[in-house]
């Protein structure tokens, strides 16, 4: 479903701030793969997601989504294949617009927008049903401005928007990191539910190693812009946090003591 072929990306090339963010990265996701991504700060996790989403052009390599070469496709065009949820709850929704307006925008992802009226009655009913599944009471507040919602509510809504039109690939960039533990757990639960329902191919970055093990069918660990560990299926299920720490220490030499990459 997703093929990243020897992706290279260097920021601020040729300056003192030069930073090799992706260094010949290869990744191949099968349809229905739910892959969690872990790695220390600067390992290139977010860069990988942003390269896939097309925020900027990559230096080398090729990106294929569902066998379509999207390497040179601008971000807004690529959006038709992608559902995205961001770390910052403010990023995924338009605060000054109503809940149903946000959903209507998401429902038209990948379509040309013309002068049709934006929300039909039937659509509104569909949204109400979908919002009910979030179990946050948002179905009764459909004309409220999104800016009035809490971070957790906004993340849940963003998740709904990202999956409203079934994406080829769902990109979750630490989407629970800014939430308190209880809310984070709830949003993760919703995430699982949505992914399961539509068998979505997913890349989920997390800082929480337990979450990385508990969710999904595959796990990759990144270090210095490359994947250093890739585990799936039964083997992944048997993993412990200590295994991951060990793997990380092997890969990074003795660096782990002063680079506490992941929390518990």
């Amino acid at each position: 479903m997703l093929k990243l072929e020897s992706i290279g990306k260097t920021f601020n090339a040729g300056t003192v701030n030069e930073k090799v963010a992706l260094n010949g990265l290869n990744l191949h996701l099968n349809p229905g793969d739910f892959c969690t991504v872990i790695g220390g700060n600067g390992a290139g996790k977010s860069t990988m997601l942003n390269a896939t989403a097309g925020l900027w052009p990559i230096d080398t390599g090729k990106i294929l989504i569902d066998n379509v070469d999207v390497t040179n496709m601008p971000e807004f065009k690529r959006a038709k294949y992608l559902g995205r949820v961001f770390q910052d709850p403010m990023t995924g929704t338009a605060a000054s617009m109503e809940i149903e307006e946000n959903l209507a925008l998401a429902a038209r992802r990948g379509q040309t927008r013309f002068l049709k009226t934006r929300i039909t009655k039937k659509e509104r009913e569909t949204y109400r049903e979908l919002l009910r599944t979030l179990d946050l009471g948002l179905e009764d507040r459909m004309t409220s401005k999104v800016g009035l919602l809490s971070g957790g509510q906004r993340q849940a809504l963003t998740l709904l928007m990202a999956t409203l039109k079934k994406p080829k690939l769902l990109l979750l960039d630490e989407h629970t990191a800014a939430l308190d533990p209880k809310t984070a757990a709830k949003v993760l639960e919703t995430t699982d539910k949505f992914i399961e329902k539509d068998h979505l191919t997913t890349l989920m970055i997390t800082h929480n190693m337990r979450d990385a093990i508990a969710h999904g069918n595959r796990l990759i660990m990144m270090y210095e812009g490359r994947i250093i560990y890739d585990v799936a299926g039964e083997e992944k299920k048997k993993l412990h946090v200590s295994d991951l720490l060990e793997k990380f220490e092997q890969a990074s030499g003795n660096e782990f003591a002063n680079d506490r990459m992941m929390l518990s």
């Binding site: 807004f76 038709k80 617009m97 209507a104 992802r109 946050l136 971070g151």
Partner: protein, 309 residues
Amino acid sequence: MDILVLLNALPGACAQGLIWGIMAIGVYITYKILNLADLTVDGTMCTGGAVCIMMMTSGHGVGISLLVAFCAGLLAGLATGVLHTTLGIPAILAGILTQLGLYSINLRIMDGKANQAISVDKYDLLVSLRYIKGVAFTKNTIFVVALIIVILIALLYWFFGTELGSSIRATGSNENMARAQGINTDFNKVLGLMISNGIVAFASGLYAQYQGFADVNAGRGAIVIGLAAVIIGQVVFGKISENMAFRMLSVAFGAIIYYLVLQVVLWLGLNSNDLKLLSAIVVAIFLAIPHLKQQHFSKPKNKGGAANA
């Protein structure tokens, strides 16, 4: 200070305010909806008038002249939009560049003269300062412009409710989100800038007719007047409703209030040369109020923040 002098001047101030209200609705689109400060309007506020007057004096009808003025505004917006999006120049600078360029273009439109007059006696004008008193109600400038504003707001309200209009609002509200939802934000910004400047140029066409001449300096400080109208409208009527049609209507009222206040200040004996300074100060104060309020007068409140879902 004869109160009658003031009262006599009020209908004129009201008509001027209404025309600037149209212009301010154009500013509202960029400043509030697209979240861009577009300084192109200082140029477009002259271009529209120049085009309209030159067209009319060469024998075209008022309708077609205003339409061409509107199109000239679209082009000006297009120029700023392309400078900003395709060429990556910050919006404010892009606007200033277009504005500066327009100065020369405006002079060319007006045959190299700094102003071009049009006589209300010889041409069939849509609005004029002579059509304020003693004319049929339907010909009265205040009525005509008010009607135009109602139609304009209805059109814009419809447009910003469509899929395309919504995507423009989303672009202004959250660009990252808009792109993630497959919205071409660059295209939308250009489109928004075009519509905005088209409306401003249309207002400029009306204003030149109203005054009886197009002037190369007609647009100087226009952005400040437009912002003043937007902000006054927001401060005075903002709490009543969040409906967008109402918001645009309050912008138009903001422009009227601005011109009425101006009239009163002139009547009180202020030198008209000092008006621009006064405008700048008023707008600066109103722009600063939200910031100062937040800094000095806000008590710590328990906001329903990220913690509770």
